[in-house]
């Protein structure tokens, strides 16, 4: 393989010994650390045969947990997506004071422990919280019900769509949209016919990641859901419950559903990255990826 590039002088670490040693050690550690958990989930899930697996999956409590997880995602992800688009539009198409602060605040949930998020929501909507008593008298149930789960999920995933769109729309500038509006297109028309086609892959990328996190969120949801079996247990919480009931095979069967989701997410991610998405949303040092000729924004 390396002979194909014989024209170039060998670079640092290209000596065969180092090369082989590094590849081998990385692959071995990676197999133990990343691949083995995947294998063990599927192995455990089917360890009592396919019949038992199907039985666990079709158990009413598990089915309800799946339903609740999907329902949460169906509400939280679209709202989050709308927010992400709005935030990216406001931040990249206009100049206003406090923009940097806004960017930091949007990113905050990314660095906060999910437990903190859950506890924080308790102090807003719980009986000992800000609105709890008033909501209780009005008979509105937020905590230990679907709204609480949705809100907590929206908190933990708040940055997901915005952080994919902002760097991309920043790099694309405002010229196209300005041309469209000057030709008489309405704001919505400009967005749907000019902006959206340019950001669709990055948008989808953010949505896919957001969905994976919403469906898999554990810490924040476990605080606000109340863990009521068959009522407020999402799939990750149901896994914990089965696990602590010593129904290990059941827990892994339920876990295998989320594992399939994770694998689908990764495949979607790879495909979308081929379309150029995801570059801007890398955790750090994303800005230099923009074409250098552009000069640098703020």
């Amino acid at each position: 393989m390396s002979r194909a590039r014989h024209a170039k002088p060998p670079r640092v670490g290209d000596s065969p010994a180092i090369r082989r040693a590094l590849i081998a050690s990385v692959l071995v550690v990676g197999a133990f650390l990343i691949f083995a958990p995947l294998v063990v989930i599927l192995y455990q899930a089917f360890s009592k045969g396919f019949g038992f697996f199907a039985e666990t999956i079709s158990d009413p409590d598990t089915r309800h947990a799946i339903f609740l997880t999907v329902a949460t995602a169906l509400i939280a992800v679209p709202i989050n997506t709308a927010f992400g688009i709005a935030a990216a539009w406001a931040i990249t198409k206009f100049d206003f004071r406090g923009k940097r602060l806004l960017l930091v605040v949007i990113e905050i949930p990314f660095s906060i422990s999910p437990i903190v998020a859950g506890v924080a929501y308790l102090f807003v909507y719980g009986l000992q919280g800000l609105f709890g008593p008033a909501l209780d008298t009005a008979g509105i149930k937020i905590l230990f019900a679907l709204p609480g789960i949705v809100l907590a999920s929206m908190f933990v995933t708040a940055p997901f769509v915005a952080r994919e769109l902002i760097p991309l729309m920043q790099a694309q500038g405002r010229d196209l949209e300005e041309a469209a509006t000057s030709l008489g297109a309405s704001g919505w028309r400009t967005f749907f016919s000019v902006t959206l086609p340019n950001i669709r892959w990055a948008l989808l990328y953010g949505v896919v990641l957001c969905n994976a996190r919403v469906m898999g969120e554990f810490g924040a949801v476990s605080v606000v859901s109340g863990n009521i079996r068959g009522q407020t247990n999402t799939l990750p919480l149901h896994i914990e419950l089965l696990y602590h009931d010593y129904n290990t095979v059941g827990a892994f069967a339920a876990a295998s559903i989320l594992t399939v989701l994770a694998i689908v997410t990764i495949i979607a991610k790879v495909l979308l990255e081929r379309q150029g998405a995801g570059r801007g949303g890398r955790p750090a040092l994303a800005a230099p990826k923009a074409p250098p000729s552009q000069g640098h924004a703020p």
């Binding site: 422990s113 506890v119 308790l122 719980g126």
Partner: protein
């Protein structure tokens, strides 16, 4: 930036953004800070400096340091191998690096526990060596390693890809050995990205909950992490203690966020300069 025409939608988009940020992000955090602040300094201090809380900080910070140190070396090696070498399965490895981000933490937690339990594949192999991972601090470290692994790989990878080969070539013509070039040319260029990855990885480890609680023994003073202690106080209906301990995690997260932003800002400036 010259700007003559103004695009439509400022009020709508900024309105939605501010409402969402205020309602979803700022309000709960404000409520938490308010609750913790209403404790009064003496009670607050008594709770956050209680021996059990301090022990949980020690466990969390030490394990996070251990996990980050491991990820610094392994993440760096992984990024290097993915960028510098071509081998069969490279794309698969590159894709699977993201698994810890895509896999729900509870699923990771039970999977790692199954692997490292006494009768698990790894646990039974490690037992004769006298190493117990599950239900010990080592288990916490393993869970933290898993959940924060992609950070360092993904921060170092793009920088490594963009590294100018001319620098290495110059050093090689001057007779530098591979080791010397790596230590004195490549590593300093990667340092800002490594530092950013390390701070992200460390921050994530400090806050991790789902993966850890399954594999840690959750014994107070020994294998109880701070996030779990906050959760336990909540289950005991001790809301004030939960608020105080959660606020410690929140403040730590803010400090880590500030550090990360500072490092990134410096790194970007540095890269801008090295680019021109």
């Amino acid at each position: 930036m010259s700007r003559r025409r103004v695009l439509p939608g400022l009020h709508l988009s900024l309105g939605i953004t501010l409402f969402y940020v205020a309602f979803i992000v700022a309000l709960p955090l404000g409520a938490l800070i308010f609750k913790a602040a209403s404790l009064g300094p003496e009670d607050y201090w008594r709770i956050v400096s209680s021996p059990r809380a301090v022990a949980s900080y020690r466990v969390t910070v030490l394990c996070a340091l251990g996990a980050t140190a491991f990820n610094l070396v392994f993440g760096m090696a992984l990024a290097w191998v993915l960028v510098r070498y071509r081998f069969p399965g490279r794309r698969l490895v590159d894709a699977i690096v993201d698994l810890p981000f895509a896999l729900p933490t509870a699923v990771a937690g039970i999977a790692l526990t199954a692997l490292f339990a006494q009768n698990g594949w790894f646990g039974s192999a490690l037992a004769p060596l006298g190493i117990t991972v599950a239900y010990t601090p080592l288990g916490i470290i393993v869970a933290m390693i898993f959940t924060s692994l992609p950070f360092i790989v993904r921060t170092v990878q793009p920088v490594l890809e963009d590294l100018d080969p001319a620098l290495e070539e110059a050093a090689q013509t001057l007779g530098g050995s591979d080791g010397a070039i790596f230590m004195r040319i490549i590593l300093p260029l990667l340092a800002p990205a490594l530092l950013a990855g390390v701070s992200l990885s460390f921050a994530r480890s400090l806050g991790e909950f789902g993966a850890i609680i399954f594999i840690a023994g959750n014994q107070p003073f020994e294998t109880e992490i701070t996030a779990l202690l906050a959760f336990i106080r909540l289950e005991e209906y001790d809301y004030q203690a939960a608020a105080a301990i959660a606020s410690v995690l929140l403040i730590t997260a803010f400090v880590m966020l500030a550090v990360t932003n500072l490092i990134q800002a410096r790194a970007l400036r540095y890269m801008d300069r090295s680019r021109s």
